[in-house]
């Protein structure tokens, strides 16, 4: 972690405990004090505007559909005001707000524009483009089914992803390390790998005993290719001098593979893991749309079948949160594993 950037304002200095003032902070102080007032006001002002637009837009809409969104905005407004007051005493919150306030305010502005364009001016054909209030209402009304769908998607995604990663690490290390494995494995990898996993859907549906089974297999296949490719290239690009050093230290072949080549390939392996994760999201949604009778992909096509577009968007919102959370978790894992790279590469 960096040295905490803390702005010490003249008027608030008196009530600050001495410990906080002594924190190293000088470098960024001028920037912070210029942004001082703005970051406090951004969210409340944006939310105020959002509320105003909402009241104007919801005049010609049934009240129950807009109620939740109104409460949602009120909660954000009061939370932002409370936070603005609390940050004078709580430096951690202050730093967090300096970081997050602009982006939160921007998100609220976007919601407002969305609402103005849909429920307000009705520039877009109505049933297909509900406003944020409608989507929020669908989200709340259908929360049980949505939760269940998310849970099923998670199970399916994780089992496919881990299966794919495990197989890919083994094949990748073998292809990267052993010359015969490379000779026989590389052509297979080069021919089978680039076929999008979703292209196998028709075959998988026929061959696999159940849709669930085939979906796991397809996701694993989607993950397998990039992870194998990147692992193999990482392993075979291990700097020879690291291997030489290890050999003069008395390393066995197992040491060379597991303690030199694999750690050296880790940055590459993580690129593969990220690419594989993206491919697995795509395959998951396709598999759920065409075969599996559960999960978020299934929910979207089901809601669309009933022309409940509020629910479609609600599921998309959940998907966005769901996928980006998983992405974030993988980033955290990478930061943990590749902590030695910190300061060497631009994160």
């Amino acid at each position: 972690m960096n040295a905490p950037v803390e702005e010490v304002k003249r008027e608030s200095r008196a009530q600050m405990p001495a410990r906080k003032i002594s924190l190293p902070e000088t470098t960024k102080a001028p920037l912070a004090s210029r942004a001082g007032a703005r970051f406090l006001l951004a969210v409340p002002v944006a939310t105020g505007i959002a509320l105003a637009v909402h009241f104007w837009a919801s005049k010609n809409q049934p009240a129950p559909e807009t109620h939740s969104y109104t409460s949602f905005l009120w909660i954000i407004l009061s939370a932002s005001i409370v936070a603005a007051a609390a940050q004078f005493a709580w430096s951690y919150l202050r730093r967090w707000m300096q970081q997050m306030a602009p982006i939160i305010a921007a998100a609220i502005v976007l919601l407002t524009i969305w609402e103005a364009v849909t429920s307000g001016f009705r520039w877009l054909p109505m049933p297909y483009f509900p406003g944020p209030a409608g989507v929020l209402q669908s989200l709340i009304d259908d929360r049980a089914v949505l939760f269940d769908s998310t849970w099923h998607s998670l199970l399916l995604l994780l089992s496919g992803y881990f299966l794919g990663v495990c197989i890919a690490l083994v094949t990748g290390v073998c292809i990267g390390w052993f010359a015969p494995a490379r000779y026989w494995g590389m052509p297979i990898l080069k021919i089978i790998g680039p076929i999008p996993a979703t292209a196998w859907v028709p075959l998988a549906m026929v061959v696999a005993p159940s849709a669930m089974f085939s979906a796991v297999g397809l996701i694993a296949l989607a993950v397998w290719f990039p992870v194998t490719m990147l692992t193999a290239s990482g392993i075979s690009n291990t700097r020879a001098s690291y291997l030489d050093v290890a050999r003069t230290l008395g390393a066995s072949r197992a040491y060379l593979i597991f303690r030199v080549a694999i750690p050296a390939a880790m940055p590459n392996i993580f690129i593969g893991l990220f690419m594989g994760l993206g491919a697995s999201f795509l395959t998951l949604v396709v598999a759920e749309t065409v075969g599996v009778k559960s999960g978020l992909g299934w929910y979207v096509s089901w809601a669309q079948g009933w022309a409940e577009y509020g629910k479609v968007y609600a599921a998309l919102v959940i998907m966005a949160v769901f996928f980006s959370t998983i992405m974030t978790v993988l980033f955290k894992v990478r930061d943990r594993v590749l902590v030695w790279q910190k300061g060497v590469i631009k994160w």
Partner: protein, 271 residues
Amino acid sequence: MVTASSNRVTAEGSALLVQNVSKSFPAADNSQASTLALDDASLSVAPGELVSLVGPSGCGKSTLLRLIAGLTAPDSGELSVDAEPISEPCAERGLVFQDPNLFPWLSVRKNIQSGLVARGVLHEKKHEVDEFMRLVGLETFADAYPHHLSGGMAQRVALARALINHPKVLLLDEPLGALDAFTRMRMQDEVLRLWKSRGTTILLVTHDIDEAIYMSDRIVIMTARPGRIERTISVTLDRPRQRNSPEFLQLRGQILEILHFAGASVGAAEE
């Protein structure tokens, strides 16, 4: 500091024999031409002897050390340790590379103990890790990663990483090159102390003639293109040696003269 159990020399070191070894590398651009990195080199090192290799850049010093370590095979000639031919690298012949080549994914402590891990003896020898970190003066950097070290610090870690294996033959490729004068002299004394207490056979590549005279029993002078062993000089001064004694300075002048002559001949060969 490493506590030497006594002053007796345990004569752990091995005898080293290099007989008529040649090694050439194919040139990168043209497969016909090749660089003769080492031409018919012969060298015999007694157990527990400390021999320095000096010579101009590109004369095959690193190549010779890699051959002795077993990392590369010679084109012709034979290499043996205690009458056993060298075929594979092993922990008994430790090599400190010209570049520190620390494992960037391991902290300083884990780099130093990697030799113990590789040989599967970490459990019995764990206490030595701290000793060697203190020896090279890096105990406060135990958890730092190599990218946060200066060049000299990294070199000291590389030295400790090789020393912890207690090799019978220690091959040092300019291990103190990046150090400031004072750290360098301190490390020279530490290496000498380890050498004395363990009786290790040491082959030391250096560009520093003072270092060669201060440390070694014999100095092997090499010439470049093709890499040849030009001459061997015995250093018979009493230890610990005085860096400014008349004998020391006289020897220094003598070696500089040979090197200068060797350098001139290289220049002539290139014309």
